[in-house]
Amino acid sequence: SPAGDSWGIFTFLCAALCNLPALPALNCSEELGAGQSIQQTYDLTRYLEHQLRTLAGTYLNYLGPPFNEPDFNPPRLARAERVPSATVDLDLWRGLTDNARLAANYRAYSRLLCYLRVLDGQVGTAELRHRLAHFCASLQGLVLSIGGVMSSLGYPLPAGPAAPPTPPGTPAAPNDFLKKMDDFWLLKELQTWLWRSAKDFNRLKKKVPPAVVTLRLEARGF
């Protein structure tokens, strides 16, 4: 649906304006306040989670059995570790600073987006390509939205561009089955990250008051 693309464009514009150092920081997300941007980011993760359900169903059917079987529960192979995992120790997760929490989300989705784009270039059917492209656009919107929240709170964006699809030294999947396993785990991690983000942004919602934003504006000397 076009709704996802226009959302992505909106957040992109907002985030872009936020990041231009020359302009006085009077733009959409800062006027709204960090609190409201967090709400919007939360809403976006829920929307993506919903979208992913349809996408994953279609993609796993494309991969075929056993990947599309509901009981499929394969062991985690070492090579799958390059996909960033949402799994975290409970106390550690609770103790994350706002900066660390946001940064973890930003890094994860940047890398997941990269992997998804690689996938997009490889899939067979036109329908799948279309769905993937739409999802990638929405996911891009999420990354920018998180970036926008971080900037409005005065946090630096995590260093460097998104990691390359295959870190040097990791061999490409030696066979078709292992390649499909990689795809399976990518979708699983993406789904888990979206569930986790809902909880991350719930916590952030409660802790970040909009008033914080104006103080930081003054500190930057605008």
């Binding site: 009981d71 529960n73 799994t87 409970l90 569930w195 909880k199």
Partner: protein, 335 residues
Amino acid sequence: DSHIQYERVGADVTMKCGSMDWDAAVTWTANGTDIDESHLNGSYLILKNVDLSQSGQYSCYEGSSWHLKYQTSLRVGTPPKEPVLMCRSNNYPKGFYCSWHLPTPTYIPNTFNISVIHGTKDMVCEKDAVLKNRCHIRYLQLFSTVKYKVTLTVTNALGKNFTTLTFDEFAIVKPDPPESVVAKPVPNNPRRLEVSWQNPSSWPDPESFPLKFFLRYRPLILDQWQHVELSDGTSHTITDAYAGKEYIIQVAAKDNDIGTWSDWSVAVHATPWTEEPKHLTTEAQITETTSASTSSFMAPPTTKICDKGAVVGSGAVAVCWTAGLVVAAYSVLFI
């Protein structure tokens, strides 16, 4: 020499009198009562197609001396059927519990063994302090992509059986119902009811894991519920209650993002505020008041024509009659 012997329902059982020869003269008793010789084959006791009523203490005595030679406690039962297993997280993100039972009794003692595997890791399921058929798992990690596999094995003297459940961390999240549901009328508001409740006490962290709620209500006299979904807050004011009618109200809870809805809370009853009836002295005044209170109730479109609460007096009979005629006419057409 006494022990316990387990046998299946419907089996044929042969009991030997200890080390006595086959042709020895013996007497068998069941729970102290002599057993007829027709059940004996030499000194062996034969019980064919045993049933549950034949469970008991069997004793064998030497013919002349009446020495007790052998004693056994016979327990007739069945091997276990596949057990029923359920796992649920009502205290997310702390962990989850699993609870089990047998669909049919076996009539003999059973032992249950539960194993929980997370990926390659074996997890400990701590026995519940009170309930024998329940144990608890504590999450070590949150937001896991690896499924949990729970296997329950039930064993008794006659056989064993097992069942397995495999699930994701998020799939089994189901809170307990909301607690302390209270519904009160609102003074001077004949169509309002104020409902309030509390988060279930088993939900450990509503700040980071907020719950959303579902409220349902209906007047006792109607079958159809009205529903309201509330994304936050633990209170709600109903503003479309029918004046003077008693309501039944329930609330359910769900994690904002994952899992399933809780069961409905305990139902509470409440009636909206009504004006105090004026003090009556004459019969005419009594008639006035009763007709006034019935006219304040407006029948909703879903009410059946013949619902007693909707219409009062002889008018109802006429309406029912007419409706009956119409229905009868239609059914004649369709025969």
